[in-house]
Amino acid sequence: MSGVLVVLEFRTQDGLAVWNRISWEALAAGQELAAEIGQPLLAAVAGERPEGPAAEVAQKKLARVYGVAHELLAAYTADGYVASLEQLIGAVRPTYVVMPHTYQVRDFAPRLAARFGETLIADVVGIRMDGGQPVFVRQLLQGKLSGDYLHRGPGPCFVSTQAGAFRPETVEAGACEVETFEPKLEAAMIRSVPGERFRVSEKSVDLTAAPLIVSVGRGIKEKENIPLVEELAQALGAELAASRPICDNGWLPMERQVGSSGQSVSPKVYIAVGISGAIQHLVGMKGSKAVIAINKDENAPIFEVADYGIVGDLFAVVPALTAAVRKAKGM
C-alpha cells in the first residue's frame, strides 16, 4: 500500500471539460501530504471520456494519472462512482484518498469510504504533521471550534478538503503518464436515474462583480426588519445580499444568496449584518478584500474573517451607521 490518490472532479458541458475548481485545491493538499509522508502523488478523473481532463492533470508534478473510463460514467451517479472508484482503489492500493469537498463528493465519498470499512474525514481545512502522522483539522459547531482528527484504521484513509482551504497555485508543474482504467460496470448496478442539470430562475442579480455588498443574516429576526439593512445598502450604494436562511424564508429572493449554494462574491468591502458565519456562508465571501462584521455574539465565527468588527445590537448600530454614512456623503 502506497501513494496519495487525489480524485479530481469535472463535468462535460457542450463537449468541453469544466473543472470544479476545488479539485486543484485538493490536488495541492494531496501534494503537501505526499511530500510529508514521502509517498508518490497519484490522481484520477472519472467519466465517459476522461482522456482530455486526464492529460491536463498529467501536466502537474505527479507519479501517475488514472483516467477512469466507462460509458456508464457519462452522467454522475453515486452507484457508478462508488463502484468505479472502489475498483480503482482496490487495484492501486493508495494509503490516502483525497477529494474536493464538493456536493458530488458529499454524495458518494461517505459510501465509498464505508465500502472499505472506513470513515471519510470530511471538509478538512488543514493538514499538520505530528510524530510522522498527519493530523487533519476540521471545523466543528459551525466554525466555533476546531478539531484535530487522526486516522487509526487499516486504510485507506479518505479525506475531503474544504473550498478555499488549500492553495491551488502551489501545485507544481511536471509531466507524467496517463493510464486508462476501465472499471467493470453494468447498467443494473446503477439504481438511480439522473436528470439534466437545471436552474430554477436565470440569474438576474449578479453579485459577483459588485464592489460593495451589505449582507444580512438570521440576526435580523423578521422580514419586517429587512428595510433597516436595505436603507444602509441604499445609503452606501451597495448591493443587498443575504445568508441562506433569509432566502429560504423568502425574505429576500434566492438570487441574492451568498454562499456555497448561492453566489461567490469578492467585493472591495463586505458588510455582514447579523450573520454568524457558518462555513457554507464563508466560502461564498472569503474573497472579499475587507470584511466588516456587526453581530451581537462576540464568539460568532464571522469575526474570524472580519477586518473590522462591532459587537452590538444590529437594531441600534445599523440605523446609526446609515445616518453616519448619509452625513459623510452629505445626503
Binding site: 458529499r106 493530523v135 476546531s146 478539531g147 442539470r197 438570487e255 453566489q263 472591495k268 474570524e304 448600530v317
Partner: protein, 255 residues
C-alpha cells in the same frame, strides 16, 4: 408508506460552549440540547409525505437519556412512534460506527423511505445518512429539496441541490435514503393535542451493541486560530457607527 426519520440531538444553536477537561469534547453538563435543524426539516418532509400518501412516520435517534426529549417533541409534531438507540458516548465513535448502530436498530422495520438532515450542526461531517444507505444496501441521494412519490408507489423522483444555484432531478426505486436540505419548508409547531398524544406513543429502546474500534478519532478540540487581525470598534451604537463610517470613508474608501 413507512418513513423512518433519523434525528440527532445537538447543543442549542449559539450556546456558550466550554471545552471539557479531557480537551476532546465539550463540557455537556451546562449545555441544553435540541433537534439538529436539518433533521427537523427531514421530519417535516416525512410528515408532509404521510399527510399526502398515508402511512407511518417513525423517529430514530441515538444518544443518552436526554435524547428522549427530542423524540417526544417529534412525536408531539405528529410522528407515530420512536426508536431510541441508547448510546452514551457517540462522539467517540466514527460515522461508520454510528451508522451501523442506527441501521441495526431498523433492520427489521422494512421502511420504504429513510430521511435525515444533510448534516449535523455539531460535527458537521454530513455522512451518517449516506453511510446508513450503504450499510442497508439501498440507494440514496443527498441535499434534497423536493420528494415526489410516483403513482405506481415503487419509485420516487427527487430534486437535488447542486452548487451555485443549479439543481437536478433524480429518480430511484424504493426503499431509498435521502438527506434533506434545511429550510425547504415551514416547520410546524406541536399542538397541545399533539403534546398530549405524544405521551402515549411508543418509544422502543434498543441497547447499542459493542462496536469495533473507530477508524477515525477526534483527538482534540480548541478555539479556532485567528487568521486575521480584527479591529474591534467599541463604544455606544452611535459612537461605533460614526467610527465605522470613518473606516468606510478614509480606510477602505467606499464612501
Amino acid at each position: 408508506m413507512k418513513i423512518i426519520v433519523a434525528v440527532k440531538q445537538v447543543p442549542v444553536r449559539d450556546s456558550l460552549i466550554h471545552i471539557d477537561s479531557s480537551g476532546r469534547w465539550l463540557d455537556e453538563g451546562e449545555l441544553s440540547f435540541e433537534i439538529n435543524e436539518p433533521d427537523a426539516y427531514a421530519l417535516e418532509a416525512a410528515l408532509l409525505l404521510k399527510e399526502k400518501h398515508g402511512g407511518e412516520v417513525v423517529v430514530l435517534c441515538a444518544g443518552p437519556e436526554r435524547a428522549t426529549q427530542t423524540m417526544r417533541e417529534a412525536l408531539a409534531k405528529g410522528a407515530d412512534r420512536a426508536i431510541h438507540v441508547e448510546a452514551e458516548d457517540l462522539v467517540r465513535m466514527d460515522t461508520f460506527g454510528v451508522a451501523r448502530l442506527l441501521a441495526a436498530a431498523i433492520a427489521d422495520e422494512k421502511a420504504d423511505l429513510i430521511l435525515t438532515g444533510l448534516q449535523s450542526e455539531d460535527l458537521g461531517l454530513g455522512q451518517t445518512g449516506v453511510v446508513m444507505a450503504e450499510v442497508l444496501g439501498i440507494p440514496h441521494a443527498t441535499i434534497i429539496m423536493e420528494i415526489e412519490l410516483e403513482e405506481s408507489g415503487g419509485r420516487i423522483r427527487v430534486k437535488r441541490e447542486l452548487e451555485e444555484g443549479w439543481f437536478q432531478t433524480v429518480e430511484m426505486p424504493l426503499p431509498a435514503l435521502l438527506t434533506i436540505q434545511s429550510g425547504i419548508s415551514k416547520l410546524r409547531y406541536a399542538t397541545l393535542m399533539g403534546i398530549k398524544k405524544a405521551k402515549t406513543k411508543e418509544v422502543r429502546r434498543v441497547a447499542a451493541g459493542a462496536m469495533p474500534e473507530a477508524t477515525v478519532s477526534l483527538e482534540r478540540v480548541y478555539p479556532p486560530q485567528k487568521k486575521k487581525e480584527t479591529r474591534m470598534i467599541g463604544g455606544t451604537p452611535t459612537e461605533a457607527a460614526a467610527a465605522l463610517a470613518d473606516v468606510l470613508q478614509f480606510e477602505v474608501r467606499v464612501i
